[in-house]
Symmetry: none
Subunit: 205 residues, 2 copies
DNA sequence: CGGCGGGTCATCCGATCGGTGGACCCAGGT
DNA sequence: ACCTGGGTCCACCGATCGGATGACCCGCCG
């Protein structure tokens, strides 16, 4: 059940960095790399990967163009995650319009990268603008606060908001506040996904 | 962050079996074993483990007695999980009364065993009567069907029932049916807890 | 001192969930 | 031939969730 993916970026250094981060996790396997959009298309044909990590600015055929070409095909389509340097990059929107399943900042940590890949493969759009924003504004912004982890843990144990509130000695309203905040940080929209992301990132178990 | 534990059972074969299952996981380390309650007490003194896996029927000093003696001490107390053959064993209740943190069936799978150990160390009481019941009623009753796993995975990815239905090409009603069933099997009442249990047992990630 | 982040609480509302009770079909085992 | 288990589907309902918004308090930092 390893995720087979290809890395597309015109900078070998970046490709190596990404590969290094991913290869350390045995749930992910890098099965190829390409230096521009056209190479990417051929590579996808050849390797039939589960997912493509694609840079936007590339010679010959840029990311958006490559994504469009990949999407316009029939047959099995790999998931596509865009690699960007800044989330202010407005090409991102064009990429998402073209059919990307989400985007990643090159400054992502290994754990974030792996989590994003795993999520994308399961059909989730990863790294919402807010989450990416949080990653950029970094410091430890994407880190959950102690209280948020408390809430998350209690939710994972199957408590309703009300029960969690009683357990943590706060009101249900407070629990909900913590939840919406941690949803934003984790890039999810519901408790089940939050629990999953928490496990993927090692925040719990 | 490995869990240091000792195995207490009067049958060397059982001890070996347990050890074998646990040693395969690098989050767990078996730091000692004992053949009866008194040996166990000395062993705990010597090794200061995080957790004790304790059989009940043993010569010299039985499990309940040993648990009682362990609990009546000051200082750092290891977690204690009782090992039983049947969950109908009524000594279980005495053991829990004496201070055990949960109990395990010797028929547990490796994944269940590891999950239980990890949970217990985190302060959770593991294997509720219902869960154990499910394990005993076995056959493969506690096993999720392929379809249920599909649903669970999609739910973990953050999908609503409707979205999951679309993804799996079935109706929302079907998704709900699978959910209620897998809730029953996992001993939970909502999707968030289901995702957690799935991770704890290694069904997902 | 003023701002900011973390924690707390509240209200409103539509969307979704979980529970219940059936129902049908098909494959495999008895 | 019968039955069981897995998969699929339906309807109805109260409970709960998630989203949006606004507010107060406290401690830390510049």
């Amino acid at each position: 059940m390893t995720v087979r993916l290809v890395v597309v970026d015109d900078h070998p250094v970046v490709r190596d960095g990404i590969k290094g981060m991913l290869q350390a996790d045995d749930r992910v396997e890098v099965v190829g790399e390409a230096g521009d959009g056209l190479e990417a298309l051929a590579l996808v044909d050849r390797t039939d990967p589960d997912l493509v990590l694609m840079d936007l600015r590339m010679p010959v055929l840029d990311g958006v163009g490559a994504i469009r070409r990949l999407r316009s095909r029939g047959g099995a389509r790999p998931r596509i995650l865009v690699l960007t340097t800044y989330d202010t990059d407005r090409d991102i929107h064009a990429a998402v319009d073209a059919g990307a399943d989400g985007y990643l900042l090159k400054a992502s940590t290994r754990a974030e990268l792996v989590a994003a890949v795993l999520q994308a493969v399961q059909g989730r759009t990863v790294l919402s603008p807010e989450a990416a924003q949080a990653l950029v504004t970094r410091g430890r912004v994407e880190q959950l606060t102690e209280r948020e982890v408390d809430v998350l843990r209690a939710i994972a144990a199957g408590g309703t908001n009300r029960q969690v509130g009683r357990q943590l000695l706060v009101s249900e309203a407070t629990v909900k506040t913590h939840l919406v905040r941690l949803y934003g940080k984790l890039g999810v929209r519901d408790r089940a996904a939050a629990v999953r992301v928490a496990y993927e990132r090692g925040l719990l178990g």
